[in-house]
């Protein structure tokens, strides 16, 4: 018995207004001609032009994308391996420690993760730069990837894999042609999650970055500390637009993939 009451309608409307109005204001005022961020001075796209000429922002954006692509790829490979270990490997020496190390970074305050990694890099004498940020990001995102992938693997029908073995597949063949296609949606969403976490991270990157490897969040943070600026509004709008398009596309394609997979599974069962 589910009925929408007027209370439900009001709370949904107010709730979503609370979530979206701040971002809407940000987007609208990125097209403001005035330098004053809270006074409307007519429509203009000049802040986007200025943003695209700002070398410091472009450099930082490039570093961020590079770090995001490399670290999320490493995180996806390691996280998928860790998911296999968690779901398939049964008991082995140090299993409790292993699963503890997978779940702990999810609840660890970022300041502690950042501090501890920085102290590690300094004590082994690794110079700070893109490499150290990649290592840091890959480490905490692999835990998120392994949680996403292992929840998909828990509902995995192992008889499909056994069938592949019976039909003469080797271990790698069976993985490539049966296991991977089935867990692929989870692996892809794990990669996307890792990539987003990396693009988003300020605290851990601030600890592990060197002077020549400023990422976009570090750059945004240092300029936001000085106050609101229309250039940052323009940058935020670009990021919001990319994320919105990305999330909607991903949700549509994954819905299609699920429907397709269900149809194939139905056809496979007599």
């Amino acid at each position: 018995m589910r009925r929408m009451t007027s209370f439900n309608v009001v709370s949904l409307t107010v709730g979503f207004a609370f979530l979206y109005i701040p971002m809407l204001i940000l987007v609208i005022y990125s097209f403001n001609a005035s330098k004053l961020v809270t006074v409307w001075g007519g429509f203009s796209t000049k802040w986007y032009g200025e943003l695209l000429q700002n070398e410091a922002f472009l450099d930082a954006a490039w570093v961020t994308i590079k770090v995001g692509l490399i670290s999320s790829t490493i995180a996806t490979i390691l996280g998928t391996m860790a998911a296999f270990v968690l779901v398939r490997s049964g008991r082995f020496f140090g299993r409790t420690l292993f699963s503890g190390m997978i779940y702990a970074p999810l609840v660890m305050p970022e300041v502690i993760t950042g501090l501890s990694l920085l102290l590690l890099f300094i004590s082994i004498g690794l110079p700070r730069g893109v490499m150290t940020i990649v290592l840091a990001h890959a480490t905490f995102s692999m835990c998120y990837v392994s949680v996403v992938v292992s929840s998909r693997m828990a509902s995995f029908d192992r008889s499909l894999e056994e069938a592949a073995y019976d039909l003469g597949c080797t271990g790698w063949d069976a993985f490539k042609s049966v296991t991977l296609p089935i867990i692929a949606p989870a692996v892809i969403s794990g990669w996307l999650l890792a990539f987003t976490l990396s693009l988003d991270d300020l605290v851990i990157a601030s600890f592990t970055a060197g002077p020549s490897s400023t990422t976009l969040p570090i750059k945004i943070f240092s300029s936001v500390r000085l106050g609101v600026s229309p250039e940052i509004n323009a940058l935020s709008t670009i990021i919001i637009a990319i994320v919105t398009v990305g999330v909607i596309t991903a949700s549509i394609t994954s819905k299609r993939a699920i429907v397709k997979q269900q149809r194939e599974e139905q056809m496979a069962t007599p």
Binding site: L78, F98, P109, L119, A136, F221
Partner: protein, 295 residues
């Protein structure tokens, strides 16, 4: 093959997660010094066993005593706990009605509502906090609106106060509260509510005696998911809070970057972690109970 599969992620996590903690603990027990890196003693492996013993003898709990003596740290821990608790409660107040509305919405709306809740989570955290600076400042939109409606005559100072920090936490962590509550409400058996109403309950009574107790696991999970990260939060208090907003994440950051006192920063980290152990264990118990209940 199996051994290789286990050892690669295992070694990675050991080296980049566990070992760094050992180092934090070691530096928390060291003394601050004017050198690079700025602490002593340094472990000198070339001297062998005697070097190790000398190193061990120099470690002490001095930094932890320092934390108990200077009341800045006490106040920062207590005020972080207070801010995180109040913010979690406020997030529950805002989040529960949203989750409840989503659970009662018609089936074909739900995927869209779900997407609308998740979308902000994928958008940059920093940008979502930044959006509030323009709203809460003295000439900001909220003050303009309140003056326009005649509620206040003078702009109120909201940015750089604890209130702004509460708003920031509620806003950024709202999806973490809504999603687990929605997950329990969605599974709720509607016939229980019908039974309650047949037995003479009003809708409000039925809500308090059926819906509220059955959604408890989701509420508990949501509260921990907000409370745990809010306790060590750095970005929100440093952008929205004032200079008198004390939160332990901010104190750690300043000890490290501004005062360059690595041993004290490490000691602060160790204690923050010890404080977090209790809610994390409670959270995992709650999750486990829920899983067992489902089976």
């Amino acid at each position: 093959m199996r051994r290789l599969l286990i050892s690669i992620p295992y070694l990675w996590l050991l080296i980049l997660f566990l070992v760094p903690f050992g180092i934090v603990l070691k530096i928390a027990l060291s003394d601050v010094a004017l050198s690079i890196p700025p602490y002593t003693p340094q472990l000198d492996l070339s001297e062998g066993w005697t070097g190790f013993r000398a190193f061990w003898a120099e470690l002490d709990l001095e930094n932890f005593w320092f934390l108990t003596e200077d009341d800045l740290y006490w106040k920062a821990y207590l005020s972080s706990l207070k801010i995180a608790l109040i913010a979690t409660f406020l997030t529950l107040l805002v989040g529960f009605p949203i989750a409840y509305g989503m659970a009662n919405a018609p089936d074909h709306w739900r995927p869209t509502l779900m997407l609308l809740i998740i979308l902000p989570f994928w958008t940059s955290f920093l940008i979502r906090v930044y959006a509030w600076i323009g709203i809460l400042s003295n000439e900001g939109f909220l003050n303009q609106f309140l003056i326009w409606t005649g509620i206040i005559a003078e702009p109120a100072k909201i940015l750089n106060t604890d209130i702004a920090v509460y708003i920031g936490i509620v806003y950024t962590y709202l999806p973490f509260m809504v999603l687990p509550i929605y997950a329990t409400l969605e599974k709720l058996d509607g016939t229980l509510l019908e039974a309650a109403e047949d037995l003479g309950c009003t809708r409000i009574q039925a809500f308090w005696s059926v819906t509220a107790p059955l959604s408890k696991p989701g509420i508990i999970a949501g509260c921990f998911l907000v409370f745990i990260p809010a306790l060590g939060e750095f970005v929100i208090p440093s952008l929205l809070g004032g200079s008198d907003t004390l939160m332990i994440g901010k104190v750690l950051w300043e000890e490290f970057f501004s005062n360059r006192d690595w041993p004290v920063a490490s000691a602060v980290a160790v204690i923050l972690l010890l404080i977090l152990v209790v809610p994390i264990i409670l959270f995992q118990r709650n999750e486990q109970k829920q899983r067992e209940a489902e089976q």
